[in-house]
């Protein structure tokens, strides 16, 4: 503490002592850095990093279960040899049905954490009084969840690709087989993750209770898919009525898969509605783009 100033007898002055408080005058990392930090924070949080033990259980268990069929398939292929490949139902192109329900659970478990907590405890003010704009916040959160889902979905696909790579006797043959598949794999992973993340965050943007958001996400996927499947199996869908099939989110994902890999779709909604496959893929992309916009509009109106 510096020396106290002289006080004139009888005058009432006050002063603030210099305790060594210093302003920060150095360089400040800008908006891009802040958004990047938000992205990394979200991505880490999706896997429970930096959040304590219990938060890691769900993502690890679900991630493991999603990758499990791939591991089984590769193991099966290695043990049983090439001839048995015909009987192996687990293929790269057709991997979605094995993963999709669990991916929905993953998003239902993690998406609410991204948005609901900040609103529930009223910390949005802290974010928006920094260099981050509302659009930045929404975008960063979306990208983070998208990246998380993509990682989880990519793992089994990578396992299968590696299995294919090492199944052939020569590395060159293996690469020739695998490299053309990389494009479709990346594309499908990206679109499917975008769709799941979009719906997940859209559902989380309107409620302050995490369990409610989780339930809504699960309900949206399962109810829509269930309803459309029943409809498609029971009704003759002619003309405009066939568009109902587009309401099945799992069919949309299947459409993406079929389009990119050039294989036949296997969801009843696509098969029985006679709609072209690219329509489903296009709808998937449209929803993936529309959801962030919806969330953005919502966050424009939130008072923080």
């Amino acid at each position: 503490m510096t020396t106290p100033p002289d006080l004139l007898a009888g005058s009432a002055t006050g002063s603030i002592y210099d305790l060594g408080y210093r302003r920060y005058d150095g360089p400040r990392l800008g908006r891009r850095h802040a958004v990047g930090a938000l992205f990394v924070h979200g991505l880490r949080g999706a896997f429970g990093l930096g959040r304590g033990g219990r938060a890691k259980i769900a993502p690890l268990v679900l991630g493991g279960l999603i990758a499990l069929p791939a591991v089984v398939s590769v193991g099966f292929g290695t043990l049983a040899g090439g001839a048995a490949e015909e009987f192996n139902p687990i293929t790269l192109e057709g991997y979605l049905p094995f993963a999709q329900t669990l991916l929905v659970f993953f998003v239902a478990a993690q998406a609410p954490e991204f948005l609901v907590r900040d609103r529930r405890y009223h910390v949005l003010t802290l974010y928006f009084s920094r260099a981050i704009e509302r659009a930045d916040y929404v975008l960063a959160k979306h990208l983070a969840l998208l990246a998380a889902v993509a990682l989880v979905f990519a793992l089994p696909q990578v396992i299968l690709l590696l299995g294919m790579l090492f199944a052939t006797p020569s590395l060159a043959d293996g690469l020739a087989e695998v490299v053309p598949l990389l494009g479709p794999v990346i594309g499908r992973t990206f679109v499917v993750s975008a769709l799941l993340a979009g719906v997940g965050l859209a559902a989380s943007a309107f409620t302050v209770r995490r369990a409610f958001a989780a339930g809504t996400i699960i309900a949206v996927f399962l109810v829509l898919s269930g309803v459309v499947t029943v409809l498609v199996n029971r009704v003759g869908l002619d003309g405009p009525l066939a568009l109902v099939a587009l309401a099945d989110p799992f069919a949309l994902m299947d459409g993406v898969s079929a389009l990119l890999f050039g294989v036949e779709p296997n969801m009843p909604a696509i098969l029985r509605s006679d709609l072209p496959v690219w329509l489903f893929a296009g709808a998937a992309v449209a929803i993936s783009l529309g959801c962030p916009i919806l969330v953005l509009l919502r966050y424009r109106r939130i008072s923080a």
Partner: protein, 254 residues
Amino acid sequence: MSGPVPGSPAALGPLVGLTAGGLVGRRRSIGVVLLAAAPVLVAAVIAIGGGLGDSATLAADVFSTITLGLVIPLAALVFGTAALGTAIEDGTIVYLLVKPVPRRTVVLAAMLVATAATALLAVAASLLAGLLLVGFTAPGLLAGMAVAALLASVLYVVVFVTLSIFTSRALLVGLGYVLLWEGLVTTLLAGTRILSIREYATSTMLALAGTEGSGAAQASVALPEALALSLAVVAAAFLLGAWRLGRFEVGEAG
């Protein structure tokens, strides 16, 4: 200062009013109404598009998979866990606990209101969807669906209300029950179906529908057992809930 002892009749009214007022939250209600509209919309689409197959079987199918399988449990989950759950979570349950009102009355009020809300939507959705599909040609099926919807509403709600008294994660546990137990386990393991609310309701519906709509769903649990177990579920849920709320202690401010 000391008035008449507030037994069930006197205090139940205000409690019911209070719970009802709390359940009708805008967003929550909109979501559940939309959910209940699903089977009606499906039925409308089928009716317009021309269904494939016998309309009674169709109606029973729509009811089993959509209404009974998804709509009623989810609606019951929303209303059942909110009836007492929100009050427990934000601490306002204190105002109900420091009153000379038997705790079982509080539980009863919550169960009544949540059941009424769920059943209203469930029965309306079932009847509307059924009427759209079969008109008045299959009264037994309609009656069966309505009664099954009512029964399922009651059973799911009382279970979820009691769940909300025991844990703050009732919504998640309830979701787990609906999706994992009734969605997966009972589908795969036939022996577990004796412990499934969906089966009790299905059994009731089939009993009333008779030959109408047969072939859509099979009764895994015989009717007398289904009814007896339903009664047991209601009694057990109520007694457990009342007991747990009676031992509720509010310590630190929360």
